[in-house]
């Protein structure tokens, strides 16, 4: 039995008790609902990508090296761990520690974004654009840029959120729960990357 179950046995939820559904605070419930909706968005993009890839006999396999994507994966996973440390410190009341870990997480996000942009520029330099590439099906560029671009947009938004929430948390304007909600979003960005890497990169390695 989880801690929440024990808590709810003592205080059953309901409209009259003031306890929110599932014993989840409103902000946290909101970010979870956003995560569910965003998961559907990414899944739709990946399914559409898979539809095209499966139906195209000349799907390009342009990736020669995995060094860049491996580094990006390592950085994003590590930033998830530092985010956890930050939220843990915040829950323990350690404002300076939580701020420090949050800023380290944001730096990880910036490095990830820079590596991502560098990779994009290399591919563009090789002649790839939204609707053209020198290797095969022209839709590869559109699907690649839209999926990785959507993810990069999430990382960029996450970095901005980490900076804003981290600074305001240190100043006492935000609480540990706010940092936790931002952390949930950051972990979700990491989670999505776990699916983008194999399907968009690793299945398209040059033979």
């Amino acid at each position: 039995m989880s801690h929440a179950d024990q808590m709810l046995q003592a205080h059953p939820p309901g409209m009259t008790t003031g306890i929110p559904p599932f014993s989840i605070p409103a902000k946290k419930m909101a970010i979870w609902l956003f995560i569910i909706a965003d998961a559907a968005t990414f899944a739709a993009c990946l399914v559409a990508y898979g539809f095209l890839r499966n139906g195209s006999p000349n799907w390009p396999r342009p990736f020669h090296s995995i060094t860049n994507v491996a580094a990006m994966t390592f950085i994003l996973l590590t930033s998830s761990l530092t985010m956890l440390f930050g939220v843990r410190a915040a829950k323990a009341g350690d404002r300076s520690g939580a701020f420090r870990w949050t800023m380290i997480t944001a730096v990880g996000g910036v490095i990830f974004a820079l590596l991502h942009i560098r990779e994009w520029l290399e591919l563009i330099g090789e002649g790839m654009s939204l609707f053209h590439n020198p290797w095969g099906n022209p839709l590869f560029g559109a699907s690649f840029f839209s999926i990785t671009g959507l993810h990069l947009l999430h990382v960029t938004g996450g970095v901005i959120a980490l900076l804003a929430v981290g600074i305001r948390y240190r100043g006492g304007r935000y609480q540990a729960d706010d940092l936790e909600v931002t952390g949930l979003y950051w972990h979700f960005v990491d989670l999505v990357w776990m699916f983008v890497v194999p399907f968009v990169y690793l299945l398209n390695l040059a033979q």
């Binding site: 989880s2 801690h3 929440a4 179950d5 808590m7 709810l8 003031g18 306890i19 929110p20 599932f22 014993s23 989840i24 605070p25 409103a26 946290k28 979870w32 569910i36 998961a39 559907a40 899944a43 739709a44 399914v47 898979g50 539809f51 095209l52 499966n54 139906g55 195209s56 006999p57 995995i66 491996a70 994966t73 390592f74 996973l77 590590t78 998830s80 761990l81 956890l84 440390f85 939220v87 843990r88 829950k91 729960d177 936790e180 949930l184 972990h187 979700f188 990491d190 989670l191 776990m194 699916f195 890497v197 194999p198 399907f199 690793l202 299945l203 390695l205």
Partner: protein, 120 residues
């Protein structure tokens, strides 16, 4: 003026009091699983086999991240079931288009109604 219900006082079930060691072990598991995907990419298996293996590993990674990094395991069981079942249903419902994708792969034309069965 109608006031919104005060839910600020309710604490979240996930308290983030797990040991750092636990978090680091989960992190190392995630790193190993991520590395496994790269190994699969270079294995001598056809694309379908690679896809299936990578999907399995990715789901395992996502499960670990959801349960322990996002602390879904520490939330109320009903909430965990809500997230997993609701999201799972939506993701599974998206898979209806694969037959058409396979049709494209073999170059088959769109299916046509037999003459006389559909009123013109």
């Amino acid at each position: 003026m109608i006031k919104a219900p005060d839910v600020q006082g309710n604490e979240s079930a996930a308290r983030y009091t797990d040991s750092l060691r636990k978090y680091i072990v989960i992190y190392l598991c995630l790193l190993i699983l991520a590395a496994l995907q790269f190994v699969i990419a270079y294995s001598n298996v056809d694309t379908t086999g690679k896809f299936a293996r990578m999907l399995f590993v990715a789901i395992a990674e996502a499960g670990l991240a959801l349960l322990f990094f996002m602390h879904l395991w520490a939330e109320r069981r009903a909430f965990m079931l809500f997230v997993v079942i609701f999201t799972g249903f939506v993701l599974i419902a998206m898979q209806y288009s694969w037959t058409d994708s396979n049709r494209m792969d073999v170059g088959a034309p769109y299916s046509q109604p037999k003459s006389g069965t559909v009123p013109q």
